[in-house]
Symmetry: C2
């Protein structure tokens, strides 16, 4: 059954208009008596078309249910602070892909300098990007962009599944390990994925994270840029675990 | 064993210098007699360190083998031509993620107008982006950006696995179908993934593709933007099929 995103007012007034009218009446040629799904404010409404007007449709509500767009576990992205406007792009993409929160992290190879007096404004702007991306991808939840931290300022005890993307480990075994870890995620788990900066985590940093319980994995044969690695992980997690 | 990317000259002269010297000698504290892997021009060299100098290392080659960064099947992205500079971003990301070729496609909801006399230059530039992204992600193969086509100008007989990302089908069944289709990909298969424009494929277009043998699938519960959908598919294909 086709699903259409409508405004609250459409539901209140039992009317489909504008783009959705065009889509339903002209493109899909729905008829009186047909049922379609309308989606508004996390609720899916199953409705039956009762009347077709010149530029609108009337309907009655047959059924309604909550549509949850969230994983039943939480995925935190520990993202080494990248150069330029890449963090904005990471926030947009990973919000679409279901991330729970992002910790922008300073590493030994982080090039960007964020002055203390600019941090608050920066974080406000980054969180605004998450709000917009969340709205656009129709999520029930708005991911938080947390304070910028150093690797040793993060409390890793908060997480029970810890994944370290480590590019030097490009072997079949380490790729299998990634898929295995993803498959092992359970309801209510707190997952954290550590993504290094442009030059990768240093060996000391990788070892520090491994000491903290991170499982080093490979994300495939090709070198992924820092802004692609998290999206790869979230996509695979979504495809394999989304509906469980 | 850690792997380092070096220049041809390093291999020719049996010397590790610059950044790699720092990484091996200072960070990793390698010792004479230790073995590491060097990667240059698709060849992986297993080498043994023979001498540590002030700012370089000497080595001898123990073994060498070809490192194939490619899938053993081909994935074509039928990408509805997006607005702004999104196609550039799609080319960069999907090159990293192993795409074989991209067909920028005009659909009924494509907004961009590409004038005939600018097409050649445009394609040249897009292919240049693929070349650079391929180099950066150390691929053996440079993906081709094919001529801009309409949906009905593509020969779908060239492909034996056809996937249609269709956002209206956000159900468990259709998500499982996506993972199933990915798992069914075999060596030498020609896979094509159709990604709609910002407003999605029209119903007529979706039906046309389904008639041509495309399997409509869901890419999860959230609405993915056109520039994210292909990356999601390629990531999942990579994680599940890369090493087979």
């Amino acid at each position: 059954m086709p699903r259409y995103f409508v405004d609250e007012n459409n539901i209140k007034n039992l009317i489909i208009d504008n783009d959705n009218f065009h889509h339903l009446a002209i493109v899909n040629r729905v008829k009186v008596g047909e049922e379609v799904e309308l989606f508004s404010n996390d609720i899916t409404y199953k409705v039956k078309i009762t009347k077709i007007n010149k530029d609108s449709l009337n309907f009655e509500i047959v059924d309604e249910y909550y549509f949850n767009t969230e994983f039943n576990f939480k995925v935190t992205l520990l993202q080494a602070y990248p150069k330029g406007d890449k963090l904005e792009s990471i926030i947009k993409h990973s919000t679409e892909l279901g991330v729970y929160e992002i910790i922008p992290t300073i590493t030994s190879r982080t090039i960007v300098k964020i002055e203390d007096n600019k941090k608050d404004n920066k974080l406000k702007r980054l969180n605004q990007i998450a709000i917009e991306a969340s709205k656009q991808s129709r999520r029930n939840y708005i991911p938080k962009i947390l304070d910028i931290k150093r690797l040793n300022e993060i409390n890793y005890d908060n997480y029970n599944v810890k994944i370290l993307a480590y590019e030097v480990l490009s072997t079949e075994e380490n790729n299998k390990k990634f898929v295995e870890v993803v498959n092992s995620i359970k309801e209510n788990d707190n997952v954290i994925i550590a993504i290094g900066p442009e030059g990768g985590f240093s060996n000391d940093e990788a070892n520090y994270l491994i000491d903290k319980g991170f499982i080093p994995v490979s994300l495939g044969k090709r070198i992924l840029r820092t802004e692609t690695a998290g999206l790869y992980c979230l996509s695979v997690i979504g495809a394999l675990k989304e509906w469980e």
